[in-house]
Amino acid sequence: MPDRPKTPDRPLKIALVEESPVRAAILEEGLREAGHATILRIPDRANLLERIYAIDPDVILIGLANPSRDVLEQMFQMSRSVRRPVGMFVDQSDSSSIEAAIDAGVSAYVVDGLRKERVKPILDTMVSRFNAFSRLKAELDQAKSQLEERKLVDRAKGILMRQKGIGEEQAYALLRTVAMNEKKKIAEIAQAVVTAAELLK
């Protein structure tokens, strides 16, 4: 007699507790790419428990540092007849994956009986997406500060041009020379020029 065909695993229902819309979008995209279609996002703290009961998820994904984790803990012991998560998913046989999750700042809560093999890839996706988001944010912050620096240098150039009656290129060369001589960044010298100009107004 042939083996009975294996029934495919029912798709998992995933609740994502995430306030930042940008990070949520990045995480959702990653989960969809990994083949998970049922993702419900909870964007804030109001009535968290009721909303999770309404969703009745298999997996709850939440940032490790998210204070709403304390609220989730209350769920483990409520005497309701709904399925409930049993605790934070930690694969104790795999310490490197625990470390990766902690470094990235991710945690997952799963319902009782869900196999480790099904949760692990979800957590791995989350870890790489959380890290991608952190990198993106760092790049964005850097771009912002570069823009600020350029604005500052422009203002300093303007001040020098007016005060000394010199051209733009000369003003920039002056800033650069002083910066090199003092072993400082051009932006720092520009800041000094702007501050001095404010004081001498």
Partner: protein
């Protein structure tokens, strides 16, 4: 000689004072230790960072140290409590409308500081709401394994109500309590200092009870470490205990309260006005109900009368609360394990003393 570095996580609360003072005022350095403090926002996170080894020690809810050692709600990790950081310090605060609703049901000439009197009023309130088809009151507390949860339950149960059916208890992390009251997610809450006074100051809440009006010596925060860490680094642990005991003594001197309030109020610590913190240290708290003032020298106890000694009877009492409220099925073996989390032996060895025996370690006033 280089100092031994110890990472300690804390939640912004006045009862994190002892490790903060030890780190900032030289008590740790005097023992050859450098304390690196990490401010955390939730109890889950501080517990996980302790159990997973990112922190060496943590300012932790006493019942959470016990629960984690028993594997209740978390990966089972044996923790040890070699020193307690304080007794008491909580209060129950209600939104003004809810406070009015309760006071209207207090029998004439009843003492509003008597929890049995306010409990009877709460019972009438719950019955009236039910008769009118209204929702039961929602009270915030900080964590399932917290004395705040147990104190509310003891007060509610002593009034003849069922804490799981007649009211709703909702978890809210301490720094969000005042927000939750303002947004009407809760009608009141039980939390530690300074958050009750912050609510009073903003006109968002009125203090109904100081925790000490319910229990005169309630175990509150402890210093928790992994048992493995305690075994492997017993020398460092002993020095840490001495540094914290010295900081606790310093906190008890009334002349130091102004400096302590400034230190705790700083932005990297609690980030709250020092004058609000001072109320907790003085045990003099305006309740926000007219010009009523509650005054109790034992509102918050750091080191007086051997309070820092981790008395295993406290661990047993906490365990009994867990069992009473269905958080564990338990049994004598589990109770013994719970008691063994509190390490008075380590405390005594570090300080070379044996503390005076306290006759009644809890002092319930709820009968």
């Amino acid at each position: 000689m280089s100092l031994d570095r110890i990472k300690i996580g804390f939640i912004p609360l006045v009862d994190a004072a002892v490790p903060i003072v030890a780190a900032d005022l030289g008590f740790a350095a005097a023992e050859g230790i450098e304390i690196e403090l990490h401010r955390e926002i939730s109890w889950s996170n501080i517990r996980d960072r302790l159990t997973l080894g990112q922190f060496d020690a943590a300012h932790l809810l006493a019942p959470l140290a016990v629960a984690t050692s028993l594997g209740l709600n978390s990966v089972k990790t044996p923790l040890a409590v070699p020193i307690a950081l304080n007794l008491n310090g909580n209060a129950i605060t209600l939104a003004p409308h809810f406070h009015d609703e309760l006071m209207a049901r207090l029998a004439p000439r009843e003492d509003r500081a008597d929890p049995r009197a306010t409990g009877a009023a709460l019972k009438r309130l719950v019955e009236d709401r039910r008769a009118n088809g209204e929702e039961p009151p929602v009270l915030g507390m900080t964590f399932p394994f917290s004395t705040h949860n147990y104190q509310l339950r003891l007060w509610i149960a002593a009034a003849g109500l069922n804490p799981d059916e007649d009211v709703r208890l909702a978890v809210v992390p301490p720094p969000y309590m005042v927000d939750a009251l303002e947004n009407a997610h809760v009608d009141g809450f039980c939390v530690g200092a300074p958050w009750n006074s912050v609510a009073v100051e903003l006109g968002l809440g009125r203090i109904l009870h100081l925790g000490v009006e319910l229990l005169s010596s309630c175990p509150e925060k402890v210093l928790a470490v992994r048992r493995k860490w305690l075994d492997e680094r017993s020398d460092v642990a002993e020095r840490l205990i001495r540094a914290l005991a010295a900081a606790g003594k310093w906190m008890e001197l009334p002349g130091n309260r102004a400096e302590a309030s400034d230190l705790l109020g700083a932005s990297g610590r609690l980030d709250v006005a020092p004058s609000i913190i001072r109320r907790a240290l003085d045990g003099r708290l305006p309740t926000g109900a007219g010009d009523e003032l509650r005054n109790d020298g034992r509102y918050l106890v750091f080191a007086r009368d051997g309070a820092m000694r981790p008395d295993e009877r406290h661990a047993r009492w906490l365990y009994a609360e867990m069992a009473r409220w269905g958080q564990t099925k338990g049994g004598p073996e589990e109770e013994a394990l719970a008691a063994s989390v509190y390490r008075a032996d380590v405390f005594d060895a570090a300080l070379g003393i044996s503390a005076p025996s306290v006759a009644d370690p809890i002092g319930s006033k709820l009968g």
